[in-house]
């Protein structure tokens, strides 16, 4: 730790040159809101920090070919304040506003939140519900596009290789951006790690759900999609029965644990409650 090095590349070529030239365990950093606490707790002891915060190209929010593209280095505050995001994905906007606190939101990045891959990562459920993709770059130009639902493989584990960084997150512009709902339950109303969170996006045709996407946080080793629940939603008209059935199905798709914040049983029942509320909220006009 004494001789920990810090590199400040100005562009992606420099990043990959640095990875090639240096030996040892490198850690990509940006906002440092997880990295510094982890170093403090001794959870990680990197020998090399590759600081991506100088890559200004990677901080943007824009529309590109019918998709919304958010650069990995966009801060959570920027996501929360973005009019474009508020219009195209109110659930993402809402989740951004609920992450951490205003001070940490000014430093934490959307790429960092996904790369850290906490099971409670606040940005993951809405992005999963938006069917977002993660775009990466790697040495040797082997960057790829990874569907977010294939991105997380375990608590704080992703499919990213050691020399691979997220550059951008994209999702297609939804037909009805407002037909979504995001609910986070925490033990406090600020600076709260979520006990459970639910994000729902529905594409409706009258009372029929053409496409339903349900994503959950803090109730499995990673943020997850609730595929069976989605299938049930897509089986025709949504009525009271549908909602009840979905709230039962979703409980079978999760693997909650007991920890200092809540018991597994509580997380189980709360997922059901939050899902019900989220669906009803969408049917009632959704998130604006």
């Amino acid at each position: 730790m004494d001789e920990m090095e810090h590199l400040n590349p100005k562009d992606l070529e420099e990043v990959f040159r640095a990875i090639k030239e240096t030996k040892g365990q490198a850690k990509f950093i940006a906002g440092c809101t997880n990295v510094i606490p982890n170093m403090r707790a001794g959870v990680i002891s990197p020998e090399l920090l590759i600081d991506l915060s100088g890559l200004e190209d990677l901080a943007h929010i824009r529309e590109e070919n019918g998709s919304i593209a958010i650069g990995a280095l966009t801060t959570i505050s920027e996501v929360a304040a973005s009019g474009l995001i508020r219009n195209q994905s109110p659930i993402l906007s809402s989740a951004a506003g609920s992450l951490g606190n205003p001070l940490t939101r000014n430093r934490a990045t959307i790429g960092g939140n996904l790369a850290d891959a906490s099971p409670a990562a606040d940005m993951a459920p809405p992005l999963l519900a938006m069917e977002a993709s993660v775009h990466t770059e790697r040495t040797g130009g082997r960057g790829r596009k990874i569907s977010l639902d294939k991105f997380f493989i375990g608590p704080h584990q992703t499919v990213l290789e050691d020399d691979e960084i997220i550059t951008q997150i994209t999702f297609s512009k939804p037909k009805d951006p407002a037909n979504g709902s995001y609910i986070k339950l925490g033990l406090r109303d600020s600076m709260a790690i979520s006990v459970a969170s639910v994000a729902v996006m529905l594409e409706m045709e009258g009372k029929v759900c053409r496409k339903g996407r349900v994503a959950l946080g803090s109730v499995a080793p990673t943020p997850i999609r609730a595929y069976h629940t989605e299938q049930r939603l897509e089986q025709g008209e949504i009525d009271g029965n549908t909602v009840e059935e979905c709230s039962a199905i979703v409980q079978k798709e999760i693997f909650p644990i007991s920890d200092i914040r809540a018991t597994d049983k509580y997380r189980n029942s709360i997922t059901s409650v939050l899902l019900k509320r989220a669906i009803l909220q969408v049917l009632d006009g959704g998130e604006r």
């Binding site: 606490p37 339950l185 406090r188 600076m191 709360i270």
Partner: protein, 771 residues
């Protein structure tokens, strides 16, 4: 009556400064970033100290090998128990008197055994913080770990793991006996019996423990440290085997105390390291270290049985209290005594039986925390009142009104309340201030309201013969100096003295300079604990200022050819009340005094009333000088599906006697309410077999600005306190009744009660499922 201020020539109707919302004198320095807290001090050539702490909650130490640490370049000292002249010190409670019965063992560093996880084992001083941290990791400790005991009820049983070195884990027990509870219960129409549990609470002051130390040119070990008790200098001296006058403690402005900086924290470590190395040393705890190793609020298991007639008159109360003292005694016997005396609450009950015990376990040690044993029992007795009310079909306010103590009535300990008791009006006002009941906004939301009342002592236990001293002088130019050993933990302790001196001497607050918290240079004023400073150092300052005032008026009377009682001291002038054109400047009076040798300074000592130790067999006798009475009212909305509680309205109504500074009083009520709100809803130090699962402020949840509503503080002033100008203390009382008010509100909303704190969503949902 001892302690009551004499009738003054200036009166309440024309106080200039007392009772006015004055900006605190220390606020400006704080808002401009000029105030130096302990960690802000740096001394050239200073070393950095670090503590090695136990990896196990219960273990023997077989050996400690410090050689690798000592060899690390940059390390200047490694200290273990064997290097300490007097590693163990028996703490006698009270400033100068030894009170028989309870002598707490204070051990600087663990020697053969560790009793809680995080107990200090070794100290290091090194050239940099980094080297000190590395050195700690190089110390090899060979432990023989045991399974230990973590439940005080288990620890009480014969054959339980012995936490300490003596026979029993039970530190002490008390009894209160009044009447015959058997008879009382047989006469009761309704009996309610429940067990209440409350958790470890952390003070979570924003400023972690910190200090610097050096040896001055006269060989005096000098500490500049964040502490509520500078008078630990005596114990520090004894640890080092030095005379008391060779240790000086200077208290810095404290960044929050709440009782957590009442016991020795970093002081002995600093003193030892500077003594060993002959160099200045700084030592600051990390937040994780603070949570791991400093005192906590005692968890209690409280079995309550309360009986009442069908009209709602309380007839009998039986309580058994078991408190978890953790690994060391510290102040547990006193906390238990407060709980025992306060177990019945502010109610008149003919038959009372209380048995209480405080027990060693291998958890973090428990000690002083705002309220000192009273918030725990208040949660129990105020929940019981509502349980009775619901069985009897009475409102919570009605049942309390039938049973409140009044002035002239006695507690179950026989002590007659000799000052005004602000019930029922504090409860009535608090409840009325909730206004119209809010409506629920959804089918899952239930609205409920609750009240709770408390009586909390201010001033220390009367058999401790508490005293306080203060020095007040007028300088040659008419400016005023106050020197007082008071420690300021942010509650305006120093600022109150400025207000008092300014009021009495007829000068603006800006003319008063106060020096505090230096054992070498300020008259000792005792601890900033037990809600005693306004009462004690306030009265001492008042006494000293009045003496100076008397001399000023005597001289002025000569100069103005009037009688002293005809004169008024006002705005740096002396004026004849009936003839305001006859006026002279204070400065001219001061000069006249100087030329004829009239001293314009006074050191006054204020003595609290002294009583004998109570009869511990029956719990009869007086323990406290006086009490502060108050109530909280709350309106909550509970989501019955998620169990989340939202607080809609919160009111605190307390009788403070006379508010010296209304802004400060409101600040205490608003702040105490929020600290109690945390205790009620989110705060819990979770220990699993002695290991903390809540190591930082990410896991230990203190209320944020989004978790609390605006607290409405209603301040009543009966004038009947024993503090200066009839003031009462408010620092601790302000946090006592909020948790039961919230618990009662939640029960009102749901129709089911949760019997332990904090009221987490999981507990709410489980309680609803069960019913």
């Amino acid at each position: 009556m001892p302690g009551k201020p004499k009738k003054e020539t200036f009166s309440k109707s024309n106080y200039r400064i007392i009772g006015k919302p004055m900006p605190r004198h220390d606020a400006r320095d704080k808002v401009f970033g000029k105030t130096k807290y302990a960690e802000d001090h740096a001394i050239p050539g200073m070393l950095y100290g670090k503590v090695l702490r136990s990896k196990y909650p219960a273990a023997n130490i077989l050996s400690i090998d410090t050689s690798n640490a000592e060899r690390l370049p940059g390390v200047q000292a490694v200290i273990t128990a064997k290097d300490i002249p007097n590693n163990e010190n028996v703490t006698r409670f009270g400033q100068t008197h030894s009170v028989g019965g309870f002598e707490g063992l204070y051990r600087v560093l663990a020697d053969k055994k560790v009793r809680f996880m995080g107990e200090a084992i070794a100290l290091v001083a090194a050239e940099t913080q980094d080297i000190a941290e590395k050195a700690i990791k190089l110390i090899l400790v060979d432990y023989e770990a045991f399974s230990g005991v973590f439940d005080p009820a288990e620890a009480m049983k014969p054959g339980a793991y012995q936490v300490g070195e003596s026979e029993s884990n039970v530190i002490c027990s008390y009894k209160v006996r009044k009447g015959d509870v058997g008879k009382g219960f047989s006469r009761s129409d309704v009996i309610v019996e429940n067990t209440y549990r409350v958790p470890f609470q952390d003070h979570a002051y924003l400023e972690p423990e910190s200090g610097v130390a050096w040896i001055d040119d006269d060989g005096v070990i000098t500490l500049q440290v964040s502490t509520q008790v500078i008078e630990h200098f005596r114990e520090i001296a004894e640890v080092l085997g030095l005379p008391h006058n060779k240790v000086r403690v200077i208290g810095t402005m404290i960044g929050g105390g709440f009782g957590g900086k009442e016991d020795i924290t970093v002081e002995t470590y600093l003193a030892l390291l500077t003594w060993k190395t002959n160099r200045p040393v700084k030592l600051t705890y990390t937040r994780e270290e603070s949570i791991l190793s400093h005192s906590k609020r005692h968890p209690y298991i409280m079995k309550y049985r309360t009986g009442a007639t069908k009209d709602g008159k309380l007839i009998a109360l039986e309580a058994e209290l078991i408190s978890d003292a953790g690994g060391y005694i510290y102040l547990s016997p006193w906390v238990l005594l407060y709980s025992t005396v306060g177990a019945t609450g502010p109610y008149d009950i003919p038959h009372v039986k209380v048995d209480s015990h405080t027990v060693l376990t291998n958890n973090t040690f428990s000690s002083a925390y705002r309220g000192f044993g009273v918030p725990q029992v208040c949660f129990a007795y105020e929940s019981q009142m509502d349980e009775l009310a619901s069985q009897l079909n009475l409102s919570p306010l009605e049942i309390r009104k039938k049973n409140y103590l009044q002035k002239g009535r006695a507690l179950a300990t026989g002590r007659v309340l000799d000052h005004y008791v602000a019930f029922p009006e504090t409860a009535e006002s608090a409840l009325a201030a909730l206004g119209e009941q809010s409506r629920s906004k959804s089918s899952a939301e239930r609205i409920g309201r609750g009240i709770a009342s408390s009586m909390t002592s201010y001033g220390r236990m009367v058999f401790l013969h508490d005293t306080s001293r203060s020095y007040v002088s007028i300088e040659m130019d008419g400016s005023v100096t106050v020197r007082c050993g008071v420690q300021d933990l942010g509650g305006g302790q120093a600022s109150s003295l400025v207000q008092i001196a300014a009021e009495v001497l007829g000068v603006p607050m800006e003319d008063v300079r106060v020096y505090i918290a230096d054992t070498a240079l300020t008259p000792l004023a005792g601890t900033t604990t037990a809600t005693r400073q306004l009462y004690m150092s306030g009265n001492a300052t008042l006494k000293a200022a009045r003496e100076v005032r008397k001399r000023i008026l005597r001289k002025s009377a000569e100069m103005l050819e009037a009688r002293p009682e005809d004169l008024e001291l006002w705005d740096r002038k002396v004026v004849v009340k009936e003839a305001p054109d006859r006026i002279i400047s204070l400065a001219s009076v001061v000069k006249a005094c100087a030329s004829d040798g009239t001293q314009l300074y006074n050191v006054a000592q204020f003595n609290a009333p002294f009583r004998e130790l109570i009869d511990f067999k029956t719990g009869q006798g007086q323990v406290f000088p006086d009490f502060t009475f108050g109530s909280h009212a709350a309106e909550v909305s509970v989501d019955i599906e998620t169990g989340k509680i939202k607080i809609l309205k919160l009111v605190a109504c307390y009788d403070v006697g006379q508010a010296i500074n209304p802004l400060s009083v409101e600040g205490q009520l608003e702040g105490g309410t929020v600290q109690g709100l945390g205790y009620a809803l989110t705060e819990e130090i979770i220990l699993d077999k002695g290991v903390t699962l809540t190591p930082s402020l990410s896991e230990y949840l203190v209320p944020t600005s989004l978790d609390v509503p605006d607290v409405q503080a209603i301040v009543l002033g009966s004038g009947d306190g024993v503090g200066p100008f009839g003031a009462k203390g408010i620092g601790e009382p302000s946090m006592v009744s909020i948790a039961p008010a919230l618990a009662n509100a939640v029960c009102d909303a749901l129709g089911v009660r949760v019997f332990d704190l904090p009221l987490t969503p999981v507990k709410i949902v489980n309680a609803l499922k069960k019913s």
